[in-house]
Symmetry: C2
Subunit: 356 residues, 2 copies
DNA sequence: ATGAAAGCGCTAACAT
DNA sequence: ATGTTAGCGCTTTCAT
């Protein structure tokens, strides 16, 4: 591609200085109308496209925000391998949007409507650090998913531009954060399961990570308050439905299936659902299953998944809002906004689950 | 946020020149290991994050590709208004990813794995031109959806950077293009409907745009080849299910319902499906319905939607591939890659539609 | 209202 | 192997 025209070319053609060209675009009212028109005409005739690099260098701001999205599903070789594991439908549930995608959509929409461009970066364990640094150098503010980047890297970046972490309340962090009220969601869910369905024996399903800690703690607290026993969580591995299958088979053999599996998130729940189906254990008749998040796949499985819905689009929009606020006038301390969640009663708990 | 450290700071701290700092990062082998380490250390200690603007300005390339995505659903006020129109489920089908989202995912994945950052821009009719020009100034190559941007703007941009248009085969264009074999898809579909189901009376459903022209033409050709009558298409309006409902009511009243509605795309088909359900006309028993595209929502409706699946992720990946190829060595003439489609026989045509 | 000129932070010759 | 230096294209005082 031929080198594009610059301010100099436009200025020459319009018979003005480069400063005037710049003004004609950025502060139209400061140049006489006739001058402005000749500049605009020249620009049009030449096919002038301003260089964002030059502009960014000169202004010290790029006008773009960044979202760094670890590609959980597609770039990690492990996940790739196990893609066909769920329900034998290689092409199916794993292709539906998950939490990350729905949050991303919120980020996009808010960026566009606020006049910012969005730079998306992705990486895996290997490319992670350089990839996130790269994108950090391109934007005025950055949004990151929790626990995807070493804290040290995050700290370095946040010394230069504002960073919002999408995280659970637990994490002590000096970054801006948007969180959701996990504890309240679990409480609503458990009250429904205990109070309405009269379930007594529960089992929590989760990989043991910080992500699910708040949920597990709230779950334990509710059980304790009701004088119910808290079993140790069933430690599945993400994406590896084989492990889950084995664990569930053991439970069945020992006659110790619970009344209800409370899964730490919807993806776990879908795996559990499919595993139970494969084992010939009817859901919700023999055992109920619940999730957490509210991803699309939860409406596709049969029975449909009772879950706690997070306002994913809003999470994304809120993160952008924090960034723009911060850019406008830097707050003294890191912003933290907590968003509400809501119970979605569907079929997998034993309800009819019509309306959503 | 405090101004971040620059090459000068790093150079000073490491006791070298800025050129050495630059080399230490870009051509590590060209500097002595001890020197390189002291530079890297200094950078780490200072929390150095290279400025992409400066780098882009100096190199003439940004290392990012762009995707300009008109936000069909969420930024156009018309659509917003009618969001609740489908099946009375305000929150439902329209929130699922559509064609655009799935293509975007392919673009993202390919960019990341090829080491490019992705700049996403969005706009509506009003902000469109300036928004797309803005993003064009930020990237080394741009991908656009068909008919979202005035040809003149596209031309101007493509004089500066390579542009790939995701489009139908019909469009005569000087841009790079990736298309799908619409005609073949329709042919496979029609052969199934005519040959297997023995349908005779068809009605094509589509808004009359260039998008659907190739599909309609192929549809007509197949009917003609079978000696079947071609009715004028039922001209629904996108998102306005009320119009569709009215048209279908008329058909029913006059006793002229077809054997099968062949919809130009899945979104239309979902509307038709819901409309027929509301009118108490059983699908597929009284009348069959088919779509085109293969979006997620097609698997959610009841009956599930028989359709022609486009390789959406691959479309996105291919566009990126073209751009990177072009950047590497500019081709003499615009690239054009046509991708195959495949028939997805599900329930709405009268099949059992188990496997996908 | 417009022009002149000094950077913004980095890369890439070209010198040494 | 490392340093010097001239831009890259634009914004922004400061003059005029």
């Amino acid at each position: 591609m031929v080198k594009g025209p610059t301010v100099y070319d436009v200025a020459e053609r319009a018979g003005v200085s480069i400063a005037t060209v710049s003004f004609a675009f950025s502060q139209p009212h400061r140049v006489r109308e006739s001058t402005r028109n000749s500049v605009l005409d020249a620009a049009r005739e030449l096919g002038y496209v301003p260089s964002a690099s030059a502009r960014g260098l000169a202004k010290g701001r790029t006008g773009a925000l960044g979202l760094f999205s670890f590609d959980f599903l597609n770039l990690l070789p492990e996940a790739e391998t196990d893609r066909t594991a769920i329900g034998g439908a290689p092409d199916d549930f794993l292709r539906f949007p998950v939490w990350v995608d729905e949050v991303q959509r919120g980020v996009e929409l808010e960026c566009f409507s606020r006049g910012y461009a969005l730079m998306i970066g992705g990486g895996n364990k290997a490319s992670g650090e350089r990839a996130v640094t790269d994108i950090a150098g391109r934007v005025d503010g950055l949004i990151i998913f929790p626990r995807t980047i070493p804290a040290e890297v995050t700290r370095r970046i946040s010394a230069r531009i504002p960073v919002v972490e999408l995280s659970d309340p637990e994490g002590e962090s000096s970054l801006h954060r948007v969180t959701t009220d996990n504890a309240s969601g679990i409480r609503q869910l458990m009250e429904h399961l205990i109070g309405f369905h009269r379930f007594r024996k529960f089992m929590f399903v989760s990989i043991p990570t910080a992500d699910t800690e708040a949920r597990y703690n709230a779950y334990s607290a509710v059980l304790a308050a009701h004088g119910l026993a808290v079993q140790p969580p069933l430690e599945s591995r993400p994406g590896t439905s084989a492990v889950t299958a084995e664990l569930i088979a053991e439970l069945q053999d020992s006659g110790s299936l619970p009344d209800c599996f409370v899964c730490a998130n919807d993806q776990e729940a879908v795996v559990v659902l499919e595993t139970l189906k494969a084992a010939g254990i009817p859901v919700p008749d023999r055992v109920a299953v619940t999730g957490f998040d509210g991803i699309v796949a939860g409406r596709l499985v049969k029975p449909t998944l009772t879950t706690v819905r997070q306002p994913m689009e809003l999470i994304g929009r809120t993160a952008v809002d924090i960034l723009i606020d911060t850019l406008t006038d830097p707050p003294a301390s890191p912003a933290h906004r907590q968003l509400p969640v809501s119970l979605a009663v569907r079929e997998s708990c034993g309800c009819r689950g019509e309306g959503d």
